[in-house]
Assembly symmetry: C2
Homo-oligomer: 430 residues x 2
């Protein structure tokens, strides 16, 4: 079966043929009980993506996901920015986040820093979404991505939502994923089959990229659906843990968006219940974890056009120091440009570590790149520079930092910094 | 008199002719009692810059400044990185920082992350500098800038110091300024005449740029000399205050160097004593302040090749919030690329503010660019976009951010982010 077979041609047998298309990073292992499907939403969900006319290009820009099962459970996570976009404020304050039936999304305008009018517009989106989905307003989450500080063109948004209502399909995830993107270079979407002890369930997700993908666009959105039956508490627990290990572990440019939104919805339509504190919960969690980590890596890779992703692993005796160092390395434009240029420039790693830990000199710092020690106890060690240059020319580069002590460890994934980033963010002045 | 007249052709009369060449920013006013001189060191100082052979290009790379007056007073400030370069560690630990007679500097190699051998090499530099200057080792500061993690080529360094000893001259500041640079696009050097109540004194400084000027080079060095007679306490006080208002107020890429060093030396050779808590202390402080602020702005402008500088002024009721916001705006690659592209993209300012102040939404945020309000109370306000686009196309762009409350204010200067930055830091892999 082709991995590009028709959406909806699903099932465990077909899924095996597509394995390997989605889980492309060496840092994410596909769990054995997870197989990739060509597409389509889990039972109980329909989605659509249409062109409402917000994007000047005429591309798809309004998306709708609806759960047809009233007993849906859900969980959500949002940006912690002090400047929250109107849809985020509205969704946090006016929705039953544990029972979201529908999600309505627009791209091309973030509805952020739009004041009172922005809240009113987000409320109108929510109302239109509720009508389109045939559900209560308090069960409709709203998300937006695009330019900050421009009022939402409500005619286009409402036209889009009405069109989406007419286009809802069980295989609408592809259009929906298109509609929530801005200028992502590639699609970030997956449909998975997950074999549990109690039966087989489906898991799907659609995401858009973060960071400097486009002028004034800086948002991460991810919507996840499953037909497993999950309690509200299990939704909360699993989404909380897996978001921490995925979207909170990536840095494109160190810039927190006003609009970041991640939502998990469980329809229960498979009839397979995932009970708390069971093997099945672990297995479902592993599937969700792999899914979100791979999506996070795709977002990092798509961050600025150039396409290399770094992973920094930091170990030491103090978790605060370990976290600060990982963040400093992942956010350093010096490290990011070296990654872009394929330069095994470990001095920039040392510089970032020093910046993160003021007042600790002299620091017994160890650094390895692609497993090759380059700095031990704070001083250079001899290494084969040619071999290392070949190793860092690959798509994924791993950096390890050792601080004094043991017991604490963290990792972060980060995009590189190349000319594409400057071109997109400096030269486009639309 | 030409502003490019021969170094050493000094005096208050000649100085007036050069006025305006150095104080080029609208954000730094030349105090009325300060005039620019064409060059040359204050009485009691000699300097040299020579090619020792550290830089492959054969450019000047070893510099020496010597105060011939044994009653010198001095003060120093260093990077607070946890990864301190060997010369910084050595100078902090083994020098009488309040009585520095000489400064020996090399460019082309930072002697950082070089372990025990690095300390030994820095000590050898100090010893050679002491011989060259004819002063005690404990009065010789050592500074280095260049590649991190490569042992210092000591033959070249010692050869350079010996050559510098033979080349020391009262007008050697020009060569010295050349020798401490890496790939700075323009010179950062000034000679000033300062009229005090007690008489006229001289003030000179030589600096090199910070940030991503060159691959693996990321250091700010600044050496300041005066023939005023200053107590050790006055040196400390004035350098402390003025560094806070200058070099601690700039961001090229938010990256703290392993090697940053600022040193002020006062020979007292003019016979003009600046007493504590007098008008003359204020006047001398104003001159030093203007000098260091202009040098800091030049470093920001030279940061990444493209040449625009932003100033963000943040006001509010809480100094921690105000400082965090200023830092977030100045370090944001989204803001920096918009500055580079001449884009009045205030949504990126709002995004940076929100990131700096998590959990404060909805925030009554005001933003003005070049005096034009674009956001009030958290929402967009109408403005003349064409006029604003013309305003942000200039060399210096001012951003004002208003947070709730009053009484706290800070400013930061920052460089833009353009293709030059990526080219230098990603494509050069020497």
């Amino acid at each position: 079966m082709s991995e590009h077979g028709p959406a909806g041609a699903l099932g465990a047998a077909g899924a095996a043929g597509a394995a390997g298309a989605f889980f492309s990073s060496r840092w994410v292992e596909r769990p054995e009980h997870v197989s990739e499907l060509a597409g389509g939403l889990p039972a109980g969900f329909r989605a659509a993506g249409v062109a409402g006319g917000i994007k000047p290009s005429g591309a798809l820009d309004v998306g709708l996901v609806v759960c047809d099962h009233p007993e849906v459970t859900s969980a959500a996570r949002f940006t912690r920015s002090g400047v929250l976009a109107a849809p985020v404020l509205l969704t946090m304050e006016r929705c039953r986040l544990e029972g979201l039936r529908a999600v309505v999304v627009n791209a091309g305008n973030a509805n952020a820093a739009t004041g009172r009018r922005g809240i009113d517009d987000a409320a109108k989106m929510q109302g239109a979404g509720a009508m389109a989905a045939g559900v209560g307003e308090g069960t409709v989450a709203v998300a937006s991505t695009g330019v900050i500080g421009v009022p939402l063109p409500m005619d286009a948004v409402v036209r889009g939502i009405a069109g989406a209502a007419r286009s809802l399909r069980a295989d609408g995830d592809h259009d929906f994923a298109d509609a929530i993107q801005t200028t992502d270079a590639f699609e970030k979407r997956a449909s998975l089959s997950v074999t549990l002890g109690a039966g087989t369930v489906r898991l799907s997700a659609q995401a858009k990229g973060a960071g400097m993908i486009s002028p004034r666009f800086a948002t991460l959105l991810c919507f996840v659906q499953t037909d497993a039956e999950l309690s509200v508490q299990t939704c909360e627990l699993l989404l909380g843990v897996t978001v921490k290990r995925s979207f909170e572990r990536i840095s494109v440019d160190g810039q927190l968006s006003t609009n970041d939104t991640v939502i998990l919805q469980a329809s229960g339509s498979s009839g397979v219940r995932v009970e708390a504190e069971t093997d099945d919960e672990v297995r479902f969690g592993e599937a969700l974890d792999a899914l979100l980590r791979q999506l996070a890596l795709m977002i990092a890779r798509d961050g600025e056009g150039a396409g290399r992703v770094g992973r920094v692993v930091v170990r030491g005796g103090n978790i605060d120091a370990v976290s600060a160092v990982a963040r400093a390395v992942a956010n350093s434009p010096l490290v990011k440009t070296a990654l872009n240029g394929g330069d095994p420039n470990w001095g920039r790693i040392a510089q970032a570590v020093g910046m993160a830990l003021p007042g600790t000199a002299p620091l017994a710092l160890d650094i390895a790149i692609e497993g090759v020690p380059v700095c031990a106890g704070g001083g250079v060690v001899p290494f084969d520079r040619d071999a290392l240059e070949r190793a860092v020319a690959r798509d994924e580069v791993e950096y390890e930092v050792g601080l004094p002590g043991s017991g604490a460890e963290t990792e972060l994934f980060f995009s590189d910094l190349g000319h594409g980033y400057v071109t997109i963010n400096a030269e486009y002045t639309t």
